[in-house]
Symmetry: C2
Subunit: 173 residues, 2 copies
């Protein structure tokens, strides 16, 4: 599958909001499948080269956060693990694992929607994208589609609490 966010006449480029909207749609879809609804999109020169949702429960894979899956896919698609010219859009602030993956990928820019005060490693608990001791730093933009992203997560957890007492996914918690 291959997405391009087409730009309308009179508009030069798809903007951050368009890409985050795509990440939100991917997140919503994951939520309907019992995953914590988080989505990620990687954009290279205006083209979506990777997108993924959280799949931890489905795959029973502790590393299957949306960001990891999208970065891996982008490396395959572009034929290189170096993603300097890419932006990663993700609906929730990345955890230490995912920020570390972005550093390892030499990611150019991260844009996330809402903060994760319990595990966020871009601005909340750590600022891993701006540590001069590490061998890579990146641009970090926050707040793109913050409210719908936050609402999506709140609604998911509220529905879980109101539900059958099934084991509560604890990403973003």
């Amino acid at each position: 599958m291959h997405w391009v966010v087409h730009h309308a006449a009179g508009r030069d480029l798809a903007d951050d909001g368009d890409y985050m909207d795509l990440a939100l749609r991917i997140a919503e879809d994951a939520g309907t499948q019992g995953e914590v609804p988080i989505g990620a999109v990687v954009v290279h020169e205006g083209e979506v080269v990777a997108f993924a949702a959280n799949r931890r429960e489905r795959d029973q894979d502790p590393t299957a956060h949306a960001e990891i899956l999208a970065l891996r896919q982008a490396g395959q698609r572009l034929g290189s693990w170096r993603l300097n010219d890419c932006t990663l859009y993700v609906t929730l602030e990345p955890c230490p694992m995912c920020m570390g993956a972005a550093i390892n990928a030499r990611l150019g820019r991260l844009a996330f929607a809402c903060r994760d005060p319990k595990a966020g490693a871009a601005v909340s608990l750590y600022a891993l994208g701006h540590d001069d001791r590490l061998n890579h730093r990146m641009i970090v933009s926050e707040g793109v589609r913050r409210d719908p992203a936050s609402r999506l997560l709140s609604q998911f957890f509220a529905a879980l609490r109101a539900g059958d007492g099934a084991d509560r996914p604890d990403r973003a918690a």
Copy 2:
């Protein structure tokens, strides 16, 4: 493939050194294939349930550190992303991505051989395994087979520098 480290008569259990020796053999093998020689093994109740080497260059995957691959494999093998009862053995101190993955996997114990002063996130730059703000903490043991692990990496980078000027892998750098 399936490894069990058998215990000799008169010896109750394979010990940390045995598992790290296995990780070192896996690392050495990766080095002969042009990867930074790092190996990881996951042990559950005395049995090796996963092992992997760094594959970043071979897969052009920014997330393909030995630890990520081994944790993912362990989740599949055990049918759960929760690895509370497992020990991860790795020949180099994990980076932020891999420490984050170990936290996300609720890893019980990490044992690493030598420190990585430039990117280590277990004790060197960060102590991610012991952050009370995160939702999991783990036992961290360092120094098992420190010298051979350190020598393996030094020799690999010395050979690279003496070599043909090919692009230098920069994991552990």
